[in-house]
Symmetry: D2
Subunit: 310 residues, 4 copies
């Protein structure tokens, strides 16, 4: 199989770096373009991330000498992964989709658009049917598909099988979030060491609205919905066990469990009866892999498997 050329928008930021790392040696995709802001454009990727590379593995060889471009829809690729900041992602992603690119976005801007799939392959692969609706309504050759907020992804992965089997009426959730979720420089060390920071702007709203969209029914006709889509299609980033259940009382722990299934699993533990609602449990997941870049890559793999990418 000839590899599909892909680009990364916002390639120099925290999530962009994760895309660069996770796409190294990818069996279906080949990174042909790295794009970022004007300040980075023209530099090699190595120069552009000097002093800002935050992943505990060196910059992949393939990316070091690549020349960073601006985020304009003249890139030599078929699909772009968007790790753009929410301040600019909205119109840029639209330009790319209009110009015919497939956009797999981690940004929040289009997640709640009625005709844009907000996608977790194991949860609502059938929502890809919205792609045709989107293209028709907007008159685009390409299209945008998004993945949810990192907290939402792991919560919904754990809730979906419960909903399917028992139904779901009410959910209460308290999140404890990794610092990497705020990007770089993100949270100041003086704000978090010896401290708990009790508020992340718009996070509660995102978890509420995105969850309802994810768990909603797609009533239109579009791509057929396979019973077990991932198992038959085997996208390379698909975890063997999307949900890992630990029975030890002191698990899951981030230090020990976040990298299970290469960071693509949701790890559930401490399942017990709840005197208020019916059951309570803990879910843990990697926030920049399954919760961000890995999610968008898996979405792209699903689209490829479904024949949505050229």
């Amino acid at each position: 199989m000839k590899k599909i050329k892909v680009g990364i928008l916002g390639a120099t930021g925290m999530v962009g770096q994760r895309f660069v790392q996770l796409l190294e040696g990818h069996p279906w995709f080949e990174v042909s373009e790295l794009a970022a802001s004007e300040q980075s454009a023209g530099k090699t990727y190595e120069e552009a991330v000097a002093g800002r590379w935050k992943i505990s593995a060196d910059i992949p060889e393939y990316a070091r000498k690549m020349r960073v471009k601006e985020c304009r829809p003249n890139l030599d690729c078929r699909l772009v992964f968007s790790a753009l900041d929410a301040a600019v992602a909205g119109p840029v992603e639209e330009e790319f989709a209009k110009a015919g690119y497939v956009v797999s976005s981690n940004s929040r801007n289009h997640r709640m658009d009625a005709d844009v799939p907000l996608l977790i392959p194991e949860v609502n692969a059938d929502h890809l049917g919205l792609v045709k609706v989107q293209q028709k309504q907007r008159g685009w050759k390409g299209f945008i598909v998004t993945n949810p907020n990192c907290s939402t992804i792991h919560m919904v992965l754990a809730l979906k099988p419960l909903m399917d089997r028992f139904g779901l009426e009410k959910v209460m959730v308290t999140t404890m979030q990794a610092l990497s979720g705020a990007g770089y420089p993100g949270v100041a060390s003086l704000d978090i060491l010896d401290n708990v920071y009790p508020y992340i702007g718009m996070e509660e709203e995102k978890m509420q609205t995105e969850t309802l969209k994810l768990l909603g029914q797609f009533s239109g006709s579009g791509v057929a919905n396979a019973i077990n889509p991932l198992k038959s299609l085997k996208p390379p980033s698909s975890p063997q066990h999307p949900i890992v259940v630990r029975t030890e009382p002191d698990r899951p722990q981030p230090k020990l469990d976040r990298n299970l299934e290469k960071g693509m699993a949701s790890v559930v533990g401490r399942i017990r009866k709840c005197p208020v609602l019916d059951y309570k449990f803990v879910v843990l997941g990697h926030n920049t892999i399954r919760g961000a870049a890995g999610a968008a890559i898996l979405n792209a793999e699903l689209m490829k498997a479904r024949g949505l990418i050229g």
Copy 2:
């Protein structure tokens, strides 16, 4: 007023050290005895805590040269504060109460005994009526009064006025706990750095049972219940505002708020509507002051004010 002589049981541990610190210069109490395990007995306090003093203020002068004794009911004092480990607190506290001492205990052993007050002065001062019941049933000259678990104290302080005003049907709570709650050496650094530890044995059970006892009605006759007991009596450790409400979206924060009212307040913030239950909010409090040693001292002050100590 002549000061009341008090002793500290378990004076060398984390909570014991807090008692030693908080009782320095106390207007009503004078520490006349420090007691601990056999290994410490016979040493000066300074020697006994060498390399184990964990409070960011030097050992108070008054305690340095005091000779540590064993935890036997032959101490020269009228009241003992118990910071004993749960493994030994049960029978030791009983011996002291039997021998006529007032025992203000931070240990969990007798908290749920039906005739032992589990006390938060602002919440259920009338439960002190149980003291007479206890003395009668057990044939003791002294008695035991306990304070709740650190998490329970702060939660119940925040819930009580809501219960009084609106009633209380269901409560869901997620706790994030200070490392000091586990004592010393307590949690290994390898277990907590870059990690979240999801389980503390018996903590959920304690929060459930202690809360029900605290918020229960004392139906017997005993000490009369003043409307606003603390305000009229002014125990020296009583905070001016037991509950401080912060309206900034990013408060309370441990680093900024735990020492409000000298660590004796519960700090409430982020009050907002909840789509599942009616309201949700954050409560923060100091776990070794209001949540442990300070709670037991305030309890003792209330007992003194009510005429229960000599």
Copy 3:
């Protein structure tokens, strides 16, 4: 004694906040002016530091409603403490000194000027003689006095008595620095958690040059040099023991020792023979109190005691 009116330049930053806190209830000085950048000017101090107050004690009452002004030499005070960022401190401090203000600066800009005292009262009080030289050379009515970098202060406090008694030939030092030294937002949490950051720009150079200036002889004639200046004059912020020596093998520790003498002491420990140089030891000190705001306040107190202020 009537209090001297003082202002704080850069009052909203990390070091500025320390000035605001440490000057609350000061027996000699009264904060009459708070000044900061254009964005803050016009707001109350409370508004100006909303979400940026980083000290674990609430904003002092006296400062909350004060109106923040711009850093122009029309402030109603006799002395200004400068906590200005190095990017702007240079010319602003000069303007104030020219206009007749005494400037006690924590900024690095004028530290190495030949006619500006770089002052640690216990080390080189006689360098205040430079004030007359400075005023004459520059034709100023006011003058600038500076305190050293936080690392230098504590190192030199420990070295001075050794130099006086034994002489000093070579010094090797490795520093481990508090995150607060970088101001706010300063170091990103992603850069420091689970990490050691090996480089602070210009820090080595500052420690080398400032130390030589501090330990140099002032050969001019000026203010007479008392043998034990601080003891006889008793500036209120002067620590009873500027150097505290700990003999326990595991001290000093920041958590246990940084607040000794209200954060104004240098704590020395682990003194032992060195097979390469003659002796080695550990010095620990509070970096935003004795290492910054407290240092500038002590300098101002010394100037007042010497009759250099009004």
Copy 4:
């Protein structure tokens, strides 16, 4: 090549776990025995480390069901890796060597024995000549080889080429150590969070004496010393670049650099002139891989390559 059967002594501790992990799929060695204290003996490895497995990767499959044995010289293997606690390592390792086993030890007990090689393959491979001396003097069929303390290894790896090229007169070193160096439970979180702990017992002494032994000349005749022993023999754990030099001013950083060369490299940076000694620089290395278990494995590989193991 048929794999050599190896055992791990002290297999349940922190360093023991690293041996278990690093030896998974090793091309030359096959773990046939896991041994630990009496409490663990008889349990499966999985049971024995329940709640104590501290490595962020699950227990390797091969080890889970292995039955843990006591540390007695009746194990079915040719070589044992010793991760024993210093309190017991001395006599146990001697028993094994006497009984004919090759012992590659990470424990400190025999490091300074005159006839026991203290070995870093890239530094003093010729010291293996001591094996014959040891066997002759002690009348043993087997023998003991040790690796240095974690701090010493990385320091000496960086110093050796400098010594060879320029000579070495004096070295001053300040270490900042990973918490894992103290084993588990090791350092209490209350002792290290928001703190610097200034003392590790015997650490300075170890770095001084071990370094002198490592950099000393072996004058006897024994195994011939190849010029570039590792390059020609290619032990599988040998890093391609034992020393990685970083030229960025803010490197090395543990978070970014400790896993270079799979944790087997020493990473050098910030090389600069020193006004006291001639040069100064920073060295960083992984303390439980190259600094402990990985070091002992590399030593064993060198012994195999030199024909010292069956």
